[in-house]
Symmetry: C2
Subunit: 289 residues, 2 copies
């Protein structure tokens, strides 16, 4: 079964109200007067990271991609559960895990350890506590809102290439992404829709559009990029930058530094437009993991 | 790194109070006036299940082993997050998932789907709500308590053998274990220590003993078994039966059907005794996954 068929099959299961039809990267769980946010990411060697990477970086990124999902909900980290396949370089994995958990004040809650001859596979379930209710989703963008992004995209692409090609040009954007937790908490009370950019700004914009049943008209030239201008198109289609992409009514005050990159329209045949024109349907908008 | 070294390394990480030093199969999370119980199990084809098994059974067991961890905390299921590696027979996996989630009223909260060429690997994080506070642990057995088990062991061993040998003698104990949720909820207010028997009654008894800093004196002949008498020693060392093993003061009334199999002593050099005698240290007490 391919991924979209599988997820379609899962949608027929008994779904928790907080699963939000599995469209979001996080589940919402009301517990008494509190609201928890739950996320899970699994990564596989050779698929989600390069087999020769420093496992300390892999552990860092596994945790921070989950914390980025919490950030997009305005949640603060409570703890993680770790699924760990024993392998070589587990000492480096633990080192990176120590660094990331200390950096973000996010303790270990539990998990499971397994052995296998297959490619090392790791999972993290992160638990966060919502700081604002209702918890924002991808689904609330309204025609007339503006579209914003918190910072440049493309840095992770350069970082990946430097790692792959063993040059020093890359920086840490690919290996050690930073979850925008404070920004997410500041944005949660005012945004109409929000998500973290994991798969490319254009693809993720189209996801906000579909979930909100609107069209997002993006001005590609206005998106801040961390690459040379010649690589703008690639930067807009590469993921892993973990900026926050959100929509905001024009009456609201922007609570964080961000760049306006488009506006929300009534729904059209295309979930996103690029300066008013529907993108080529045969050309991928981004990277689907 | 081997598993015990890895877990020892994890114990040096920032640990959540509810992680209980990672000794327990579940983490405890106080949220306002509620207490949540969180568990995670990961399974790998060829390690935790036979590659030719019906994937509906594999999905069932993946969920029920987590629900059994909730049962041992007296918790009721709230929902699960699923980590799924796409493979052949995903339709059967979804079928089993549907059956188990409907049977236990446990909706899907979210998760992640990945692709890999490696052996299919699946994970579940289960969230439960504690029905009694404080949540029981492995660590409270007191000298003078009696040791009980809710039912026979060895049925899963027979089921595994029938599956492996393609005979019809096995029943469903190995493929479709039943989490003792109602029994766990009845026991939580009265037990001093409790866990589910996943790795063999003797090994798991030794874990209660170590966590409680006592010795458990088990009468092997009194343990109910689902096998012929000639296989008693094996049945006591085989896991996967998911009975509840617990300790109870003699003043307490037994709230569920269970068999007394031993008593709790002040600590000795050996965490468990078999009718007063320390077991051979070189002979395994059970199955460590």
């Amino acid at each position: 079964m391919n991924e979209s068929d599988f997820i379609a099959a899962l949608r027929k299961l008994p779904l928790h109200d907080g699963a939000r039809n599995l469209e979001d990267d996080a589940a919402i769980l009301e517990v008494g007067s509190e609201t928890l946010v739950l996320t899970h990411d699994t990564i596989v060697s050779g698929v989600h990271f390069l087999p020769f990477q420093d496992m300390a970086d892999v552990a860092w990124k596994l945790v921070t991609t989950n914390l980025s999902d919490l950030a997009a909900k305005g949640a603060e980290p409570v703890g993680i559960l770790l699924s760990h396949m024993l392998s070589t370089n587990d000492d480096r994995f633990v080192q990176g895990l120590t660094e990331v958990l200390e950096t973000y004040g996010c303790p270990l809650l539990g998990g499971d350890t397994v052995s296998s001859d297959g490619p090392p596979t790791y999972g993290v379930t992160a638990v966060g506590r919502a700081t604002h209710s209702p918890v924002p989703s991808r689904g609330g963008a309204q025609a007339g809102d503006s579209v914003y992004i918190t910072g440049p995209v493309g840095a992770a692409m350069l970082g990946f290439e430097a790692l792959r090609d063993d040059t020093s040009a890359g920086g840490s954007a690919y290996t050690r992404p930073i979850p925008l937790l404070a920004e997410g908490q500041a944005l949660a009370p005012v945004v109409t829709a929000i998500m973290d950019v994991s798969d490319g700004v254009l693809l993720d914009a189209s996801r906000i559009a579909k979930a909100s049943k609107v069209t997002l008209d993006i001005d590609p030239a206005s998106v801040p990029i961390a690459t040379p201008e010649a690589r703008r198109d690639e930067a807009l289609r590469w993921g892993d930058d973990y900026q926050l992409l959100f929509t905001l009514p024009d009456t609201a005050t922007l609570p964080v530094s961000a760049t306006r990159i488009g506006r929300v329209l009534e729904p059209t045949d295309s979930p996103i437009l690029l300066e008013g024109t529907a993108p080529d349907r045969d050309s991928p908008l981004g990277y689907s993991h």
